[in-house]
Point group: D2
Chain length 139, copies 4
Protein backbone atom coordinates (compact mmCIF):
# COMPACT_ATOMS: atom_id res chain seq x y z
CA UNK A 1 0.00 0.00 0.00
CA UNK A 2 1.20 3.46 -0.89
CA UNK A 3 2.78 5.43 1.94
CA UNK A 4 0.69 8.59 2.42
CA UNK A 5 2.52 10.08 5.38
CA UNK A 6 2.39 13.90 5.66
CA UNK A 7 6.10 14.12 4.93
CA UNK A 8 5.40 13.04 1.36
CA UNK A 9 4.37 15.86 -0.92
CA UNK A 10 2.44 15.29 -4.14
CA UNK A 11 2.34 17.54 -7.18
CA UNK A 12 0.57 16.78 -10.47
CA UNK A 13 0.74 18.06 -14.04
CA UNK A 14 0.29 16.92 -17.63
CA UNK A 15 3.14 15.44 -19.66
CA UNK A 16 4.26 18.06 -22.19
CA UNK A 17 4.72 17.27 -25.88
CA UNK A 18 8.28 18.64 -25.82
CA UNK A 19 9.11 16.00 -23.19
CA UNK A 20 8.62 13.13 -25.66
CA UNK A 21 11.21 11.77 -28.07
CA UNK A 22 10.98 9.81 -31.32
CA UNK A 23 10.50 6.55 -29.39
CA UNK A 24 7.02 7.98 -28.68
CA UNK A 25 7.67 8.03 -24.92
CA UNK A 26 8.89 10.60 -22.42
CA UNK A 27 12.65 11.20 -22.69
CA UNK A 28 14.49 10.09 -19.55
CA UNK A 29 15.85 13.57 -18.81
CA UNK A 30 12.29 14.90 -18.32
CA UNK A 31 11.95 12.86 -15.12
CA UNK A 32 14.79 14.81 -13.54
CA UNK A 33 12.99 18.05 -14.45
CA UNK A 34 9.87 16.62 -12.83
CA UNK A 35 11.85 15.64 -9.73
CA UNK A 36 13.07 19.24 -9.58
CA UNK A 37 9.52 20.54 -9.90
CA UNK A 38 8.52 18.05 -7.18
CA UNK A 39 11.04 19.46 -4.71
CA UNK A 40 10.22 23.06 -5.72
CA UNK A 41 6.59 22.35 -4.88
CA UNK A 42 7.56 20.49 -1.68
CA UNK A 43 9.34 23.61 -0.48
CA UNK A 44 6.60 26.01 -1.64
CA UNK A 45 4.05 23.91 0.29
CA UNK A 46 6.16 24.35 3.43
CA UNK A 47 6.41 28.10 3.02
CA UNK A 48 10.06 27.89 2.08
CA UNK A 49 10.43 28.65 -1.61
CA UNK A 50 13.81 27.67 -3.00
CA UNK A 51 13.69 31.07 -4.72
CA UNK A 52 14.10 32.68 -1.28
CA UNK A 53 16.81 30.20 -0.37
CA UNK A 54 18.93 31.46 -3.29
CA UNK A 55 17.99 35.07 -2.49
CA UNK A 56 19.47 34.44 0.98
CA UNK A 57 22.74 33.40 -0.70
CA UNK A 58 22.41 29.62 -0.38
CA UNK A 59 22.28 27.04 -3.16
CA UNK A 60 21.52 23.34 -3.38
CA UNK A 61 23.35 22.03 -6.45
CA UNK A 62 22.77 18.37 -7.34
CA UNK A 63 25.90 16.32 -6.62
CA UNK A 64 24.52 12.86 -7.27
CA UNK A 65 21.34 11.58 -8.87
CA UNK A 66 19.74 8.48 -10.24
CA UNK A 67 16.49 7.11 -11.62
CA UNK A 68 14.89 3.82 -12.57
CA UNK A 69 12.25 3.77 -15.28
CA UNK A 70 9.59 1.20 -14.55
CA UNK A 71 6.85 1.93 -17.08
CA UNK A 72 6.72 4.47 -19.93
CA UNK A 73 5.05 7.88 -19.51
CA UNK A 74 3.30 9.36 -22.52
CA UNK A 75 2.24 12.78 -23.80
CA UNK A 76 -0.91 14.29 -22.28
CA UNK A 77 -1.15 11.83 -19.37
CA UNK A 78 -1.47 13.41 -15.96
CA UNK A 79 1.40 12.37 -13.69
CA UNK A 80 1.98 12.86 -9.98
CA UNK A 81 5.42 13.32 -8.46
CA UNK A 82 5.66 12.14 -4.84
CA UNK A 83 8.58 13.88 -3.11
CA UNK A 84 10.16 13.40 0.29
CA UNK A 85 13.40 14.04 2.17
CA UNK A 86 15.17 10.76 2.90
CA UNK A 87 18.33 12.11 4.52
CA UNK A 88 19.16 15.43 6.14
CA UNK A 89 22.74 16.16 7.20
CA UNK A 90 24.38 19.38 8.28
CA UNK A 91 25.61 20.30 4.80
CA UNK A 92 23.70 18.00 2.48
CA UNK A 93 20.32 16.44 1.95
CA UNK A 94 18.71 13.81 -0.23
CA UNK A 95 15.30 13.91 -1.86
CA UNK A 96 13.58 10.78 -3.13
CA UNK A 97 10.82 10.66 -5.71
CA UNK A 98 8.19 8.42 -7.15
CA UNK A 99 6.42 9.33 -10.37
CA UNK A 100 3.02 7.71 -10.76
CA UNK A 101 0.30 7.86 -13.39
CA UNK A 102 -2.21 10.20 -11.70
CA UNK A 103 -5.21 8.28 -13.01
CA UNK A 104 -4.16 4.65 -12.52
CA UNK A 105 -1.61 4.97 -9.70
CA UNK A 106 0.89 2.86 -11.66
CA UNK A 107 4.51 3.62 -10.71
CA UNK A 108 6.35 4.99 -13.73
CA UNK A 109 9.73 5.84 -12.20
CA UNK A 110 11.62 6.25 -8.95
CA UNK A 111 14.68 8.31 -8.25
CA UNK A 112 16.77 10.45 -5.94
CA UNK A 113 18.85 13.62 -5.96
CA UNK A 114 21.52 14.41 -3.40
CA UNK A 115 22.31 18.08 -2.84
CA UNK A 116 25.16 19.92 -1.22
CA UNK A 117 24.43 23.24 0.49
CA UNK A 118 26.81 25.93 -0.81
CA UNK A 119 27.24 29.69 -0.90
CA UNK A 120 27.33 31.73 -4.12
CA UNK A 121 30.98 30.82 -4.67
CA UNK A 122 30.27 27.09 -4.41
CA UNK A 123 31.80 26.63 -0.94
CA UNK A 124 30.04 24.06 1.30
CA UNK A 125 27.83 25.64 4.00
CA UNK A 126 25.67 24.36 6.84
CA UNK A 127 22.01 24.35 5.88
CA UNK A 128 20.59 27.36 7.79
CA UNK A 129 18.45 26.42 10.81
CA UNK A 130 15.42 28.35 9.55
CA UNK A 131 15.45 26.17 6.43
CA UNK A 132 16.27 22.93 8.20
CA UNK A 133 13.22 23.47 10.39
CA UNK A 134 10.98 23.33 7.32
CA UNK A 135 12.39 20.06 6.02
CA UNK A 136 11.40 16.78 7.56
CA UNK A 137 12.79 13.31 6.94
CA UNK A 138 10.04 10.89 5.89
CA UNK A 139 9.84 7.79 8.07
CA UNK B 1 -8.77 45.84 -20.75
CA UNK B 2 -7.91 42.18 -21.18
CA UNK B 3 -10.06 40.28 -23.65
CA UNK B 4 -11.81 37.49 -21.70
CA UNK B 5 -13.92 36.01 -24.49
CA UNK B 6 -14.76 32.31 -24.14
CA UNK B 7 -12.58 31.51 -27.16
CA UNK B 8 -9.50 32.35 -25.10
CA UNK B 9 -8.27 29.51 -22.93
CA UNK B 10 -6.10 30.07 -19.87
CA UNK B 11 -3.72 27.59 -18.27
CA UNK B 12 -1.39 28.29 -15.35
CA UNK B 13 1.71 26.68 -13.85
CA UNK B 14 4.90 27.57 -12.01
CA UNK B 15 8.11 28.44 -13.83
CA UNK B 16 10.49 25.48 -13.52
CA UNK B 17 14.09 25.87 -12.43
CA UNK B 18 15.34 24.03 -15.55
CA UNK B 19 13.69 26.75 -17.65
CA UNK B 20 16.09 29.43 -16.40
CA UNK B 21 19.53 30.21 -17.82
CA UNK B 22 22.63 31.88 -16.41
CA UNK B 23 21.13 35.33 -17.08
CA UNK B 24 18.86 34.47 -14.11
CA UNK B 25 15.75 34.66 -16.30
CA UNK B 26 13.65 32.17 -18.26
CA UNK B 27 15.36 31.04 -21.47
CA UNK B 28 13.45 32.16 -24.57
CA UNK B 29 12.88 28.58 -25.80
CA UNK B 30 10.77 27.83 -22.70
CA UNK B 31 8.05 30.16 -23.93
CA UNK B 32 7.53 27.99 -27.00
CA UNK B 33 7.16 24.96 -24.69
CA UNK B 34 4.59 26.96 -22.71
CA UNK B 35 2.75 27.93 -25.92
CA UNK B 36 2.65 24.21 -26.75
CA UNK B 37 1.27 23.39 -23.31
CA UNK B 38 -1.24 26.23 -23.80
CA UNK B 39 -2.62 24.70 -27.00
CA UNK B 40 -2.54 21.18 -25.50
CA UNK B 41 -4.71 22.46 -22.68
CA UNK B 42 -6.91 24.44 -25.07
CA UNK B 43 -7.69 21.21 -26.92
CA UNK B 44 -8.13 19.14 -23.74
CA UNK B 45 -10.62 21.74 -22.46
CA UNK B 46 -12.65 21.28 -25.67
CA UNK B 47 -12.69 17.51 -25.37
CA UNK B 48 -10.29 17.14 -28.28
CA UNK B 49 -6.92 15.98 -26.95
CA UNK B 50 -4.13 16.36 -29.50
CA UNK B 51 -3.11 12.86 -28.35
CA UNK B 52 -6.25 11.52 -30.06
CA UNK B 53 -5.60 13.68 -33.11
CA UNK B 54 -2.27 11.89 -33.64
CA UNK B 55 -3.88 8.53 -32.84
CA UNK B 56 -6.29 9.24 -35.71
CA UNK B 57 -3.29 9.67 -38.00
CA UNK B 58 -3.19 13.47 -38.19
CA UNK B 59 -0.38 15.79 -37.11
CA UNK B 60 0.01 19.53 -36.66
CA UNK B 61 3.72 20.30 -37.10
CA UNK B 62 4.78 23.91 -36.51
CA UNK B 63 5.71 25.55 -39.82
CA UNK B 64 6.20 29.11 -38.62
CA UNK B 65 6.49 30.66 -35.18
CA UNK B 66 7.50 33.83 -33.41
CA UNK B 67 7.59 35.51 -30.02
CA UNK B 68 8.22 38.90 -28.47
CA UNK B 69 9.58 39.08 -24.95
CA UNK B 70 8.20 42.05 -23.09
CA UNK B 71 9.22 41.47 -19.48
CA UNK B 72 11.37 38.74 -17.92
CA UNK B 73 9.83 35.66 -16.31
CA UNK B 74 11.58 34.17 -13.29
CA UNK B 75 11.83 30.83 -11.48
CA UNK B 76 8.95 29.91 -9.17
CA UNK B 77 6.58 32.61 -10.42
CA UNK B 78 3.16 31.41 -11.47
CA UNK B 79 2.46 32.24 -15.10
CA UNK B 80 -0.71 32.01 -17.17
CA UNK B 81 -0.71 31.21 -20.88
CA UNK B 82 -3.71 32.65 -22.75
CA UNK B 83 -4.28 30.68 -25.96
CA UNK B 84 -6.63 31.26 -28.89
CA UNK B 85 -7.06 30.33 -32.54
CA UNK B 86 -6.52 33.38 -34.75
CA UNK B 87 -6.86 31.75 -38.15
CA UNK B 88 -8.44 28.49 -39.31
CA UNK B 89 -8.00 27.39 -42.91
CA UNK B 90 -8.75 24.07 -44.57
CA UNK B 91 -5.23 22.69 -44.11
CA UNK B 92 -3.61 25.00 -41.60
CA UNK B 93 -4.34 26.99 -38.46
CA UNK B 94 -2.66 29.61 -36.31
CA UNK B 95 -2.63 29.83 -32.54
CA UNK B 96 -1.76 33.04 -30.73
CA UNK B 97 -0.56 33.33 -27.16
CA UNK B 98 -0.07 35.78 -24.37
CA UNK B 99 1.98 34.83 -21.31
CA UNK B 100 1.15 36.86 -18.23
CA UNK B 101 2.35 36.86 -14.65
CA UNK B 102 -0.53 35.06 -12.91
CA UNK B 103 -0.30 37.26 -9.81
CA UNK B 104 0.16 40.74 -11.29
CA UNK B 105 -1.35 40.29 -14.77
CA UNK B 106 1.74 41.86 -16.36
CA UNK B 107 2.27 40.70 -19.94
CA UNK B 108 5.58 38.83 -20.19
CA UNK B 109 5.48 37.66 -23.81
CA UNK B 110 3.28 37.28 -26.87
CA UNK B 111 3.64 34.88 -29.75
CA UNK B 112 2.13 32.68 -32.42
CA UNK B 113 2.59 29.26 -33.99
CA UNK B 114 1.27 28.33 -37.43
CA UNK B 115 0.59 24.65 -38.06
CA UNK B 116 0.05 22.59 -41.16
CA UNK B 117 -2.24 19.56 -40.92
CA UNK B 118 -0.46 16.47 -42.27
CA UNK B 119 -0.72 12.70 -42.30
CA UNK B 120 1.91 10.38 -40.83
CA UNK B 121 4.07 10.74 -43.95
CA UNK B 122 4.05 14.53 -43.75
CA UNK B 123 1.63 15.08 -46.66
CA UNK B 124 -0.76 18.06 -46.24
CA UNK B 125 -4.32 17.04 -45.30
CA UNK B 126 -7.59 18.85 -44.67
CA UNK B 127 -8.25 19.27 -40.96
CA UNK B 128 -10.99 16.66 -40.25
CA UNK B 129 -14.45 18.17 -39.70
CA UNK B 130 -14.83 16.57 -36.27
CA UNK B 131 -11.72 18.46 -35.16
CA UNK B 132 -12.51 21.69 -36.94
CA UNK B 133 -15.83 21.79 -35.08
CA UNK B 134 -13.99 21.95 -31.77
CA UNK B 135 -11.78 24.86 -32.74
CA UNK B 136 -13.13 28.38 -32.82
CA UNK B 137 -11.50 31.54 -34.10
CA UNK B 138 -11.37 34.21 -31.40
CA UNK B 139 -12.96 37.50 -32.43
CA UNK C 1 23.39 30.15 -55.24
CA UNK C 2 24.26 30.16 -51.57
CA UNK C 3 25.81 33.38 -50.26
CA UNK C 4 29.26 32.48 -48.92
CA UNK C 5 30.45 35.94 -47.90
CA UNK C 6 32.98 36.03 -45.04
CA UNK C 7 30.39 37.68 -42.80
CA UNK C 8 28.45 34.43 -42.71
CA UNK C 9 29.70 31.95 -40.15
CA UNK C 10 29.01 28.22 -40.39
CA UNK C 11 28.96 25.72 -37.55
CA UNK C 12 28.03 22.04 -37.84
CA UNK C 13 26.97 19.28 -35.46
CA UNK C 14 24.84 16.15 -35.30
CA UNK C 15 21.15 16.27 -34.35
CA UNK C 16 20.80 14.91 -30.81
CA UNK C 17 18.25 12.26 -29.89
CA UNK C 18 16.85 14.44 -27.09
CA UNK C 19 16.00 17.06 -29.73
CA UNK C 20 13.39 14.82 -31.38
CA UNK C 21 9.75 14.47 -30.34
CA UNK C 22 7.14 11.79 -30.84
CA UNK C 23 6.42 13.04 -34.36
CA UNK C 24 9.82 11.48 -35.16
CA UNK C 25 11.26 14.87 -36.17
CA UNK C 26 13.26 17.57 -34.42
CA UNK C 27 11.11 19.63 -32.02
CA UNK C 28 10.81 23.27 -33.15
CA UNK C 29 12.40 24.65 -29.98
CA UNK C 30 15.69 22.87 -30.83
CA UNK C 31 16.22 25.23 -33.77
CA UNK C 32 16.37 28.19 -31.40
CA UNK C 33 19.03 26.35 -29.37
CA UNK C 34 20.92 25.77 -32.62
CA UNK C 35 20.58 29.45 -33.56
CA UNK C 36 22.04 30.28 -30.14
CA UNK C 37 24.93 27.87 -30.72
CA UNK C 38 25.37 29.46 -34.16
CA UNK C 39 25.82 32.95 -32.70
CA UNK C 40 28.03 31.61 -29.86
CA UNK C 41 30.30 30.10 -32.48
CA UNK C 42 30.11 33.24 -34.65
CA UNK C 43 31.46 35.26 -31.73
CA UNK C 44 34.08 32.66 -30.74
CA UNK C 45 35.36 32.68 -34.33
CA UNK C 46 35.82 36.46 -34.10
CA UNK C 47 37.73 36.24 -30.83
CA UNK C 48 34.82 37.69 -28.90
CA UNK C 49 33.27 34.96 -26.76
CA UNK C 50 29.86 35.91 -25.42
CA UNK C 51 31.15 34.45 -22.14
CA UNK C 52 33.52 37.42 -21.90
CA UNK C 53 30.75 39.80 -22.90
CA UNK C 54 28.76 38.76 -19.81
CA UNK C 55 31.92 38.80 -17.68
CA UNK C 56 32.29 42.47 -18.71
CA UNK C 57 28.78 43.10 -17.34
CA UNK C 58 26.87 43.19 -20.65
CA UNK C 59 24.05 40.93 -21.76
CA UNK C 60 22.19 40.32 -25.00
CA UNK C 61 18.75 38.97 -24.06
CA UNK C 62 16.48 37.93 -26.93
CA UNK C 63 13.61 40.42 -27.30
CA UNK C 64 12.07 39.10 -30.50
CA UNK C 65 12.55 35.90 -32.48
CA UNK C 66 11.01 33.87 -35.23
CA UNK C 67 11.57 30.81 -37.40
CA UNK C 68 10.14 29.10 -40.48
CA UNK C 69 10.47 25.36 -40.82
CA UNK C 70 10.94 24.35 -44.42
CA UNK C 71 11.90 20.67 -44.24
CA UNK C 72 12.13 18.32 -41.25
CA UNK C 73 15.44 17.61 -39.50
CA UNK C 74 16.01 14.14 -38.10
CA UNK C 75 18.12 12.45 -35.42
CA UNK C 76 21.76 11.75 -36.29
CA UNK C 77 21.83 13.93 -39.41
CA UNK C 78 24.62 16.46 -39.54
CA UNK C 79 23.29 20.00 -39.79
CA UNK C 80 25.01 23.31 -40.45
CA UNK C 81 23.85 26.60 -38.96
CA UNK C 82 24.74 29.63 -41.09
CA UNK C 83 24.77 32.77 -38.90
CA UNK C 84 25.14 36.43 -39.77
CA UNK C 85 24.39 39.88 -38.34
CA UNK C 86 21.64 41.55 -40.37
CA UNK C 87 21.25 44.74 -38.33
CA UNK C 88 23.51 46.53 -35.87
CA UNK C 89 22.19 49.51 -33.94
CA UNK C 90 23.64 51.36 -30.98
CA UNK C 91 21.73 49.32 -28.39
CA UNK C 92 20.42 46.32 -30.30
CA UNK C 93 21.36 43.87 -33.02
CA UNK C 94 19.73 41.17 -35.09
CA UNK C 95 21.17 37.83 -36.08
CA UNK C 96 19.73 35.80 -38.93
CA UNK C 97 20.15 32.08 -39.45
CA UNK C 98 19.77 29.36 -42.00
CA UNK C 99 19.89 25.70 -40.97
CA UNK C 100 20.87 23.36 -43.77
CA UNK C 101 21.42 19.61 -44.02
CA UNK C 102 25.22 19.43 -43.97
CA UNK C 103 25.31 16.58 -46.49
CA UNK C 104 22.72 17.65 -49.07
CA UNK C 105 22.66 21.43 -48.57
CA UNK C 106 18.85 21.39 -48.34
CA UNK C 107 17.49 24.32 -46.33
CA UNK C 108 15.68 23.01 -43.25
CA UNK C 109 14.79 26.26 -41.48
CA UNK C 110 15.42 30.00 -41.43
CA UNK C 111 15.06 32.39 -38.53
CA UNK C 112 16.16 35.49 -36.66
CA UNK C 113 16.74 36.69 -33.10
CA UNK C 114 16.77 40.35 -32.10
CA UNK C 115 18.77 41.25 -29.00
CA UNK C 116 18.86 44.24 -26.73
CA UNK C 117 22.16 45.14 -25.06
CA UNK C 118 21.64 45.53 -21.30
CA UNK C 119 23.60 45.69 -18.08
CA UNK C 120 23.22 43.18 -15.24
CA UNK C 121 20.08 44.94 -14.00
CA UNK C 122 18.41 44.75 -17.39
CA UNK C 123 18.86 48.44 -18.27
CA UNK C 124 19.50 49.19 -21.99
CA UNK C 125 23.15 50.00 -22.77
CA UNK C 126 25.12 50.96 -25.86
CA UNK C 127 26.98 47.97 -27.30
CA UNK C 128 30.62 48.64 -26.26
CA UNK C 129 32.86 49.74 -29.15
CA UNK C 130 35.32 46.90 -28.62
CA UNK C 131 32.49 44.46 -29.23
CA UNK C 132 30.86 46.38 -32.04
CA UNK C 133 34.18 46.26 -33.89
CA UNK C 134 34.03 42.47 -33.97
CA UNK C 135 30.53 42.30 -35.42
CA UNK C 136 29.93 42.97 -39.08
CA UNK C 137 26.65 43.32 -40.95
CA UNK C 138 26.42 40.85 -43.83
CA UNK C 139 25.71 42.50 -47.20
CA UNK D 1 46.47 8.01 -15.45
CA UNK D 2 43.55 8.20 -17.84
CA UNK D 3 42.56 4.92 -19.51
CA UNK D 4 42.92 5.46 -23.28
CA UNK D 5 42.03 1.96 -24.48
CA UNK D 6 40.49 1.77 -27.97
CA UNK D 7 37.16 0.69 -26.48
CA UNK D 8 36.73 4.18 -25.06
CA UNK D 9 35.28 6.67 -27.51
CA UNK D 10 35.72 10.42 -27.10
CA UNK D 11 33.49 13.15 -28.50
CA UNK D 12 33.86 16.89 -27.86
CA UNK D 13 31.66 19.96 -28.17
CA UNK D 14 31.07 23.35 -26.59
CA UNK D 15 28.68 23.82 -23.67
CA UNK D 16 25.53 25.53 -24.98
CA UNK D 17 24.02 28.58 -23.32
CA UNK D 18 20.61 26.87 -23.08
CA UNK D 19 22.28 24.18 -20.94
CA UNK D 20 22.98 26.60 -18.10
CA UNK D 21 20.60 27.53 -15.29
CA UNK D 22 20.32 30.52 -12.97
CA UNK D 23 23.02 29.07 -10.70
CA UNK D 24 25.37 30.06 -13.55
CA UNK D 25 26.40 26.43 -14.13
CA UNK D 26 25.28 23.62 -16.42
CA UNK D 27 21.95 22.12 -15.34
CA UNK D 28 22.34 18.48 -14.27
CA UNK D 29 19.96 17.17 -16.94
CA UNK D 30 22.32 18.39 -19.69
CA UNK D 31 24.87 15.73 -18.70
CA UNK D 32 22.39 12.99 -19.59
CA UNK D 33 21.92 14.62 -23.00
CA UNK D 34 25.71 14.64 -23.38
CA UNK D 35 25.90 10.97 -22.35
CA UNK D 36 23.32 10.26 -25.05
CA UNK D 37 25.36 12.19 -27.61
CA UNK D 38 28.43 10.25 -26.39
CA UNK D 39 26.83 6.89 -27.12
CA UNK D 40 25.36 8.14 -30.44
CA UNK D 41 28.88 9.09 -31.48
CA UNK D 42 30.31 5.83 -30.12
CA UNK D 43 27.97 3.90 -32.40
CA UNK D 44 28.53 6.19 -35.40
CA UNK D 45 32.30 5.69 -35.01
CA UNK D 46 31.76 1.91 -35.20
CA UNK D 47 29.64 2.15 -38.32
CA UNK D 48 26.49 1.27 -36.42
CA UNK D 49 24.31 4.38 -36.17
CA UNK D 50 21.55 4.04 -33.60
CA UNK D 51 19.34 5.59 -36.31
CA UNK D 52 19.70 2.34 -38.29
CA UNK D 53 19.10 0.30 -35.15
CA UNK D 54 15.67 1.88 -34.78
CA UNK D 55 15.05 1.60 -38.53
CA UNK D 56 15.62 -2.17 -38.10
CA UNK D 57 12.85 -2.19 -35.46
CA UNK D 58 14.99 -2.30 -32.32
CA UNK D 59 15.15 0.23 -29.49
CA UNK D 60 17.38 0.80 -26.49
CA UNK D 61 15.28 2.69 -23.92
CA UNK D 62 17.07 3.76 -20.74
CA UNK D 63 15.87 1.68 -17.79
CA UNK D 64 18.28 2.91 -15.15
CA UNK D 65 20.70 5.82 -15.01
CA UNK D 66 22.82 7.82 -12.62
CA UNK D 67 25.43 10.55 -12.46
CA UNK D 68 27.84 12.16 -10.02
CA UNK D 69 28.79 15.78 -10.50
CA UNK D 70 32.37 16.40 -9.47
CA UNK D 71 33.13 19.91 -10.72
CA UNK D 72 30.86 22.47 -12.43
CA UNK D 73 30.74 22.85 -16.21
CA UNK D 74 30.19 26.32 -17.63
CA UNK D 75 28.91 27.93 -20.82
CA UNK D 76 31.29 28.05 -23.79
CA UNK D 77 33.83 25.61 -22.33
CA UNK D 78 34.76 22.71 -24.57
CA UNK D 79 33.93 19.38 -22.94
CA UNK D 80 34.79 15.82 -23.91
CA UNK D 81 32.51 12.87 -23.22
CA UNK D 82 34.38 9.56 -22.84
CA UNK D 83 31.99 6.66 -23.53
CA UNK D 84 32.40 2.91 -23.17
CA UNK D 85 30.35 -0.26 -22.79
CA UNK D 86 30.79 -1.70 -19.31
CA UNK D 87 28.37 -4.61 -19.56
CA UNK D 88 26.84 -6.47 -22.49
CA UNK D 89 24.15 -9.07 -21.86
CA UNK D 90 21.82 -10.82 -24.27
CA UNK D 91 18.98 -8.31 -23.82
CA UNK D 92 20.58 -5.35 -22.11
CA UNK D 93 23.73 -3.31 -22.00
CA UNK D 94 25.30 -0.60 -19.88
CA UNK D 95 27.25 2.42 -21.04
CA UNK D 96 29.51 4.37 -18.71
CA UNK D 97 30.67 7.93 -19.18
CA UNK D 98 33.17 10.44 -18.01
CA UNK D 99 32.80 14.12 -18.87
CA UNK D 100 36.05 16.06 -18.76
CA UNK D 101 37.01 19.65 -19.47
CA UNK D 102 38.58 19.32 -22.94
CA UNK D 103 41.28 21.88 -22.18
CA UNK D 104 42.35 20.97 -18.66
CA UNK D 105 41.37 17.29 -18.50
CA UNK D 106 39.57 17.87 -15.17
CA UNK D 107 36.82 15.34 -14.53
CA UNK D 108 33.48 17.16 -14.34
CA UNK D 109 31.08 14.23 -14.02
CA UNK D 110 30.75 10.46 -14.29
CA UNK D 111 27.67 8.41 -14.99
CA UNK D 112 26.01 5.38 -16.51
CA UNK D 113 22.90 4.42 -18.44
CA UNK D 114 21.50 0.88 -18.59
CA UNK D 115 19.41 -0.01 -21.62
CA UNK D 116 17.01 -2.79 -22.41
CA UNK D 117 16.75 -3.98 -26.02
CA UNK D 118 13.09 -3.94 -27.13
CA UNK D 119 10.97 -4.09 -30.27
CA UNK D 120 8.63 -1.30 -31.35
CA UNK D 121 5.96 -2.50 -28.90
CA UNK D 122 8.36 -2.39 -25.96
CA UNK D 123 8.82 -6.16 -25.65
CA UNK D 124 12.31 -7.29 -24.59
CA UNK D 125 14.41 -8.68 -27.45
CA UNK D 126 17.87 -10.18 -27.82
CA UNK D 127 20.36 -7.62 -29.13
CA UNK D 128 20.86 -8.67 -32.81
CA UNK D 129 24.23 -10.34 -33.49
CA UNK D 130 25.17 -7.82 -36.18
CA UNK D 131 24.89 -5.07 -33.59
CA UNK D 132 26.47 -7.00 -30.77
CA UNK D 133 29.53 -7.52 -32.96
CA UNK D 134 30.08 -3.76 -33.12
CA UNK D 135 29.95 -3.24 -29.36
CA UNK D 136 32.89 -4.13 -27.18
CA UNK D 137 33.15 -4.20 -23.42
CA UNK D 138 35.98 -1.96 -22.20
CA UNK D 139 38.49 -3.77 -19.96
Amino acid sequence: MRNTSPQIHETSFHVRYAETDQMGLVHHTAYFVWFEEGRSDYMRARGASYRDFERDGFFLPVVDCGARFVAPARYDRRVTVRTWVSELKSRSLTFEYEVIDAETGTVLATGFTRHLCTDREGRPRRIPEAWRAKLEVAP
